[in-house]
Amino acid sequence: MKPLTTGAGSVQPPTSLADPFDHGNLEDPGPLHESLRAAGPVVHLSRYDTYALARYEQVHAALTDWQRFQSAAGVGLSNFRYEEPWRPPSLLLEADPPRHDAPRRVLSAIVGPRSLHRLRAKWAADAAGLVDRVLGTGDVVDVVPALAEAFPLRVFPGAVGIPADGRENLLPYGDHLFNAFGPPNDLVAAGAGRIAGLSAWVNGQCARDRLAPDGFGAAVWAAADRGDLTHEQAPLVVRSLLSAGVDTTVHGLSAVLYAFATHPDQWERLREQPSLARVAFDEAVRWESPVQTFFRTATTDVRVGGTVIPDGAKILMFLGAANRDPRRWTAPDRFDLSRDPSGHVGFGMGIHQCVGQHIARLEAESLLTALARRVSRIEPAGPVARHHNNTLRAWHSIPVRLHRK
């Protein structure tokens, strides 16, 4: 459609009738991403009356500009200016400065790179133990449950300090939470029945007396005792760890395992140079973008390209499309360990950038290093199946044959 100029000096953006959250686009978002990037720097999605950004430059700019692209009105389709949130909003993800400052500062210190060094040796041993056990069960393995789910569920809740009982609730809770950022479609309806019980369980784990004394959760409460947070904020900050720290990592690990199963030359490269494990994980996060989308809300009339996005409008940032934008990346569809994936927006960017990114990298590095030591080849061994989620690029099943060294 030909852009029209309105009287206010704003160019009418191209319009798309697509539903990014329908099952076709969730199964394979690539063609939609390509058409949105090609259409222009901003595209109006008429179905949801929202503005889509799919090019790297505009997504990066929106992520870093918290002043004009706010999060406190919700980072899903729902606009908290007009709609009641389904749960008490996150103090991190769904907050703006100044309220965002203290929770972010506290959590950044607790899960920052300097604080994770003490977990390195333990997680490396845990990963080696898990890989040994999985190899003992047979050569053909579905790596989604066996590794991508099993490893984070083994190490992360323990690092937070929650009890072993009930950890299986974390995945369905996260799945619903990330569905709920999208429209109220069949995926949200499917999770609605269980969510009250799951939420009650998750909220119950955030109380001080549920948390082991040496974990991240206890450190949040200690920060509240020092006055760096209020005691009312502490359980919600712990909840952020449990909400955002499991599904995302599971699907990031699935992504890197799928990448290696389909790119045996790259696995060979990692085996020769295991120090590439961190690069490999970030390249997989760029390539697959486990978190595909987040919304922002315009705090004022914001000009993007020639278009003025009106105050209060919802803006949908396609992180996955930005991470494969050929304007930014050479041969973006290729999973390539010789690429420097630095600067990808798979963890976001700016003040809301994934506070747990260093945890995710350490989990991935632990698991990939353990696998590279024992496995010479990861070979596809049957049809793979996606898991559909309104926000996450996820896998249900990736059967592979693990060739031992």
Binding site: R99, G350, R361
Partner: protein
């Protein structure tokens, strides 16, 4: 390519007796790194000396920083240089921002400023007011004309107590702190004798009630603007980092697999282990103890004080 970070002086105006406010911006007009009230930056002057100044402007303006500089008659020359010689359009180096003095959430605040110690409190006060907190400010100085931003603060009305010494004598701390109730946080910044008096006056309050920031001269010496060498210990490669390139760019161009993300010294992704040499830390991540230890650095912004850094790559 990431540049070594510099700021350009885009404004300079007197705001009180002996105090100039500087406005600083990115030379290319880019966003500046985000900050929170209480934060300071390292300002690296053309002769390599480093001075710390609190950010006292508006964080909703992503494109400029404001600092206020008191001319110190017994100082080491940094403030005199800024007052006399630093002109509009000139470049200065940037470290940080870092925040050792964050505003924690509370329903009530009592702010106490002595002289130029008002600067970190200005954005705190704006924020406390924005959030609807109950707050008061006690602000002392020699004379009315030496109270920087006193006129602006008077706009807040009865919450602000301007107490120039020539009219009121020494600050009445016990009188001001009598307004304390459980849950009130006390923030104080100013010269050492004032902070000592505030600490004495707060001894009866619960732990963590009082938060202070001292205006002490930075203990570090000048930084270098000359090129330096980076030795990659595992490959025994020696690289030269020119004055206008970052460590990250030099080592990744040489093939080192170092991930980065924000390139502003904030996210912590590009940490490298330092085996020998003295880093010139310019990030927002490390605390003072970690900076002094010098065992790691963030390659996107930090540099070297010594001729050579040996890193674990």
């Amino acid at each position: 390519m990431a540049e070594t970070r510099s700021l350009r002086v885009t404004g300079k105006e007197p705001v009180a007796d002996g105090v100039v406010a500087l406005t600083l911006a990115d030379p290319g007009g880019a966003r500046l790194p985000d900050w929170t009230p209480g934060a300071h930056i390292d300002l690296i002057l053309p002769n390599g000396s480093v001075r710390q100044y609190s950010l006292c402007g508006d964080r909703w303006d992503a494109y400029t920083y404001t600092i206020a500089v008191l001319r110190e008659t017994n100082g080491r020359g940094g403030s005199a240089y800024i007052h006399q010689d630093l002109d509009l359009g000139e470049a200065v180096g940037l470290g940080g921002p870092r925040n050792n003095f964050p505003l924690v959430p509370a329903e009530r605040y009592l702010f106490i400023a002595g002289g130029i110690g008002i600067t970190p409190l200005l954005p705190m006060i704006a924020q406390a007011d924005l959030l609807g907190a109950d707050w008061r400010l006690l602000y002392g100085g020699r004379r009315t004309a030496s109270l920087a931003f006193g006129h602006d603060l008077a706009g807040y009305g009865a919450r602000v107590h301007l107490r120039p010494e020539d009219r009121y004598g020494l600050l009445d701390l016990p009188g001001f702190l009598a307004a304390w109730q459980p849950g009130t946080r006390v923030y104080a910044c100013g010269p050492a004798p004032l902070l000592a008096a505030v600490e004495r006056a707060c001894t009866g309050f619960p732990p963590h009630t009082l938060r202070t920031e001292r205006f002490a001269a930075a203990l570090t010496g000048p930084v270098r603007s000359m090129p330096f060498e980076i030795e990659l210990a595992r490959s025994k490669t020696v690289l030269t980092v020119p004055a206008d390139s970052s460590v990250l760019d030099v080592i990744t161009a040489a093939g080192a697999d170092v991930l980065s993300s924000c390139r502003q010294g904030v996210c912590g992704t590009c940490e490298i282990i330092v085996l020998a040499g003295e880093p010139d830390h310019r990030d927002s991540v490390l605390d003072d103890t970690e900076r002094a230890a010098g065992a790691c650095m963030f390659a996107c912004v930090s540099r070297s004080r010594s001729d050579r850094l040996v890193i674990d790559l």
